[in-house]
Symmetry: C2
Subunit: 320 residues, 2 copies
């Protein structure tokens, strides 16, 4: 039975235990990493022993910011007080992580109540906003480094304040972190104003070969193995590709089709809500949500594009 904590209760819990292990989620993003590193730093400042769980999937952009807070790969966490940040369910735990979480701090409405204690604020755009409040209660404020880490959490989870989850609290928190010394310009440069040459080349190949139909309301991108090879892209360059074709002005529904090793198609559909892409993906044994879903299609990518074109043209007829 999970006990729901207030922020004050969570802060006092943290002040009265010790030997913390902070878990980040599988395929860690800026919110889970920034939140975990800032909390680890604050707990150490408060006089506690604290480490982040060694998550082997941390990408090179994040590593320099969090490295000093990471436990070693062979760290013995059997006696630790385990805290999770930004993790909605045990299925999102990284490989090898302990699952006896004493306190979960999260902002996902879908949090599955896996922890003994839970601090959940599901109206926050980033878990980092909640962690900031907890650190303020525990330590009376964040230091410059924690402010930068929490700015990473907030800015990456809002796409630098551009996603629809950005609200007044996100903006005001960013102001507070700026005043606390967050290196916002540096973070923005690294995460939002630059890309690896390979990623930029790959995006270029995608944008210049987009297939647009129905007066640009349907947009389909194809990424072939040849395009990946030509761009030099590696796994670290492949995040968030699904959103690219939807950038076309007037888009209602978009598809990203990536050729897999067998020459078949891995498909991600995105919709503005007018079309239910989950039901389209279900036709091919996939699934997801109304506005974002995925499936695999046992055909080469351009054949999949032509198949999807017809289905999507039918689907938008209902939106008119």
């Amino acid at each position: 039975m999970t006990k729901i904590l207030t922020k004050n209760e969570a802060a006092s819990f943290l002040g009265s235990h010790d030997n913390y292990l902070i878990l980040t989620h599988k395929r860690p993003d800026g919110d889970t990493l920034g939140s975990a590193a800032a909390l680890t730093s604050a707990l150490r400042r408060y006089g506690k022993t604290a480490n982040m769980f060694f998550n082997k999937d941390i990408t090179p952009k994040y590593l320099p910011f969090v490295q000093q807070f990471l436990a070693s790969e062979d760290f013995d966490f059997s006696e630790c007080t385990v805290i999770s940040v930004d993790i909605a369910d045990t299925g999102l735990f990284p490989a090898g992580a302990p699952d006896d979480v004493i306190l979960a701090i999260d902002h996902h409405p879908s949090n599955s109540r896996f922890a003994q204690n839970l601090l959940l604020e599901d109206s926050r755009s980033a878990c980092g906003e909640i962690v900031l409040d907890v650190i303020n209660l525990l330590c009376g404020g964040v230091n410059k480094e924690e402010a930068t880490l929490l700015y990473i959490a907030l800015s990456t989870d809002t796409g630098c304040f551009v996603y629809a989850n950005t609200d007044s609290h996100s903006f005001r928190t960013a102001g507070e972190l700026y005043d606390a010394g967050a290196e916002t310009a540096k973070v923005n440069r690294i995460f939002f104003r630059s890309m690896s040459k390979a990623r930029l080349t790959l995006e270029g190949l995608v944008y210049s070969s987009l297939l647009s139909y129905a007066e640009n309301r349907i947009n389909i991108a194809v990424i072939t193995k040849e395009m990946i090879e030509k761009s030099g892209a590696t796994q670290n360059d492949m995040d968030d590709l699904a959103s690219l074709p939807g950038k076309v002005e007037g888009n209602l529904v978009s598809a990203m089709i990536k050729e897999n090793d067998q020459g078949f198609s891995k498909v991600s559909l995105r919709s503005n809500g007018a079309v239910n892409v989950s039901s389209i993906c279900a036709m091919f044994g996939g699934g997801g949500h109304v506005m974002a879903a995925g499936c695999e299609m046992d055909m080469p990518p351009f054949q999949a594009a032509e198949t999807l074109r017809k289905i999507l043209e039918d689907s938008i007829k209902w939106t008119e």
Copy 2:
């Protein structure tokens, strides 16, 4: 002799005159248009007659937001109280505008004191932040529409809070505008999350053909007439192209070379500050600033690229 006003003095000036014409600058951007339209709206709410000068260069993305505040093209402004917003100098006045400005509201440190009265806050990232304060003083608050217009001003002048001019005040102002009802998600979708198909195609052609040297510290983009034709881009799709090649991770100095009608090269150089691109452009009869400069080169674009490559390779030797 220009008289410097405080915000209170500017608000009381606006309250005690009437029949306002609000000027926006040449090639109007979101800050000048959002500031002018919000101020026009607030003055009308206060009971004044107010119109924005008919600026014929307003692009289609902005027009729906400001149209109802625009004077007609043949508007007789001979008796108007002329206010300028976000205009640093008379050289930036739109064609046909009156130049007897009674009050200038601006955030440019370079403001040339052309107006009888000046409200200048040169530490603000957008003029819209100053206009918000003035409207708050004049009307006790902004309405939902003015909040959206000022959010357009602020978000476009900070690249949606990603440019280095973004500070605590920018974030807190965004929070205030959100709370006042600004349609932030709609503005973000239109200005930052979507692009015309032609622009996206053109960016794709640029990204997939970037010339990178010296371990990606030098990046040169070429836009030929053929690429423009292939993309279908028009003049409205050509803003801010100069910043594209500098997006490569590790970039120090970048060049955008655009083929002109004669088949020669229009060049924009950008630097992170380590290289003075103004002095490089001066070699070809151009000029500008240390971090942003331009010139024309009487040679075809790929020959210009090769010429610049050698000069830029020499220039970065001094940065090591």
